[in-house]
Symmetry: C2
Subunit: 145 residues, 2 copies
DNA sequence: TATATTTATGAGACTCAATCTCACAATAAA
DNA sequence: TTTATTGTGAGATTGAGTCTCATAAATATA
């Protein structure tokens, strides 16, 4: 999806939510989507500020919620009390290996696990809306140090 | 494991950490272990207070950390900013289905997933120390309402 | 385009789980 | 016991996230 198409899709979502098209909202979307990192709100906030874009923390937090609701972003909670967000634009589902030493986040996808997971839900008559599968440990780089 | 054996094991762990045997520490362990719920620190704190046991929030938080370190407890982060703890005493590993409507937590274990998970770690040369596999959705009770 | 109406923004106050402080209390070694 | 050491607890502090509300900006209307 190119940048213009993305903006249009975002504009549609804003319209659906009866939200106005503001430079801040577009800047936050673009900042998130143009990186493949797992970003904290404070990080997005400073990145935009450093680009000379006027934005507040409140606006970043409010916008991230909306981006998650409309599937432009995915929220990641790794248990340290800081929410991280990653772009879902052009990104397929995956789960995470998280290094306890350096904080690096490695992505993985295992289709067999995804299938087994769904069958568990069926067994329990449970309707899955989302899932997180996080493996914590020590990454290769940190092991060799 | 009977209660006396547990207390002895806990005493050993305290010794190993060069920590003293205090009534508060034993009370916190017993309160957690005698329930099969996923408990918040504040919940443990009030439960003990209501039993007339003198304890502070700080002591509960400090002791939970130690219980996790020595494998008497497991910490659960479901993304709402509140840490929950469950007993690991006589409890085998499992993961969780979490209802977004009522907050109910259902436990599951799938050995195939556990094996696949380990093979992913091998592929990435990643040393797993722990993992969390959480499935969020709507439980049968909430669906039928 | 000009004006009216509605909604968004942002600085800072506020919330709340968790952590820290430190005077005092309790424990365990000698 | 005595004494050194560690723990406890009330309240202060921290920090991510939320809320407030006066002002600014976006869109609807003329
Ligand atoms: Mn990712
Ligand atoms: Mn459990
Ligand atoms: Zn690492
Ligand atoms: Zn439910």
């Amino acid at each position: 999806m190119d940048k213009e198409q993305l903006k249009e899709n975002f504009a549609k979502a804003l319209k659906q939510e009866k939200l106005k098209r503001t430079p801040q909202r577009f800047a936050i979307l673009e900042e998130l989507v143009s990186s493949d990192e797992h970003r904290e709100c404070t990080d997005i906030y400073f990145a935009l500020r450093n680009q000379g874009i006027s934005v507040s923390r409140a606006t970043v937090y409010r916008t991230m919620d909306m981006l998650v609701k409309y599937d432009f972003a995915r929220r990641l909670d790794i248990g340290d009390g800081i929410a991280r967000y990653e772009s879902k634009v052009g990104v397929s589902h995956h789960d995470h290996l998280i290094c306890l030493e350096c904080g690096k986040i490695i992505e993985f996808l295992n289709r067999d696990i995804e299938v087994l997971q769904q069958s568990i839900c069926n067994d329990f008559d449970f309707d899955m809306t989302r899932h997180t599968h996080q493996i914590f440990g020590v990454c290769p780089d940190c092991k060799s140090k």
